[in-house]
Amino acid sequence: MVSMTAPVTVWDLPTRVVHWLIAALIPFSWWSAHSDHLPWHRLSGYTILGLLIFRVGWGFAGASTARFSAFVAGPRRVRDYLRGRLGAAVGHNPLGGWSVLAMLAALAVQVGLGLFSIDEDSLEPGPLSGLLSFDDARAVAHLHHLMFWVVVGLIALHITAIAVYARRGRNLTGPMVTGLARLPPGARAPIMAPAWRAVLAAAVAAGLVWFIAHGLKL
């Protein structure tokens, strides 16, 4: 085994906070919907929406490992990675990058469907359900139920991948908690982003969520 560097920060704080809040809020959303706590379900969905908006912004303005440009790889790189031609990645590997995109997209669809959904008794209308007829908003609510299982499928894939890497001696969970990982010698340490960008992105995300939650009215 080649000697690794001392631990350096690979995942910045905003990326980790987004990750773990989403990880906590997905089961919470499921539970609150199934135990009839729709006001909590709504808040949970709004929070996830804000985190997704923030994460997309952070994908352009965040630390180097958080940026889409760093981890969205073409098919050839994915193939080379799968054949073991690329070394261990700093940040998302070419395959993991697509997993991140798939999960962000699936969650965006899921939250989007929730915004247009309505319950059968109209007691808890989604903030954008007014744009649809009752029947259509109910149909969207059914899609919202089905889409949950797509999200669950992607999470299962994610956890399976983590388990596979763990068996091969690579701990992916620890770095997502602490942000720290040892890099292969010669690998360049990720570049962090200034905190003010995170504050700005969070403010923009919060504003957008507020606007959407008010039915696209100021």
């Binding site: 319950d119 007691l123 059914h142 139920h145």
Partner: protein
């Protein structure tokens, strides 16, 4: 002249045909009709809630939809004829027909709430419509919880 025996046979055949037709009606057709009624009722409820959640409710919409809800709530007991628990895909649970007293009690809760909503709406009481509409929604939910199949997904 047809003999009385012929007449009896004809009458029996007619009765069988009538029962068979009635069974057909109370099965799939009654389920379809019920679903159409329920969707219309749901659409009215949604339309009212949209107004009560709005900054300035459109009372003309509230009055029209409240009248529809009141009429639907009064007609609702006829939407569940015996035998309409099967014959097409339905989320109506068998408990509706095995627990008619309990089911009737739920219908009564809706009828009262709908009548009150309609009265408040027709009186033009914009502030009173919100809570009254909520009581109607709660009555819908109160019955659905027990007598309607939960979403499987």
């Amino acid at each position: 002249m047809p003999s009385s025996r012929h007449f009896a046979w004809a009458a029996a055949a007619l009765m069988i045909a009538a029962v068979a037709t009635a069974a057909g009606v109370t099965g799939a057709d009654a389920i379809k009709a019920r679903q159409t009624h329920m969707k219309a009722l749901g659409a009215s409820a949604k339309a009212i809630f949209q107004q009560t959640h709005a900054a300035t409710p459109d009372m003309a919409v509230v009055k029209a939809e409240a009248a529809k809800i009141d009429a639907a709530a009064k007609a609702l007991p006829t939407w569940f004829p015996a035998g309409s628990g099967a014959g097409a895909k339905t989320e109506a649970l068998p408990l509706i027909w095995t627990d008619p007293k309990g089911f009737a009690a739920k219908q009564h809760v809706l009828a009262l709430a709908a009548a009150k909503l309609n009265a408040v709406a027709q009186a033009g009481d914009a502030a009173g419509v919100g809570p009254a509409a909520h009581d109607v929604g709660a009555a819908c939910k109160g019955c659905h919880e027990t007598y309607k199949e939960k979403d499987k997904t």
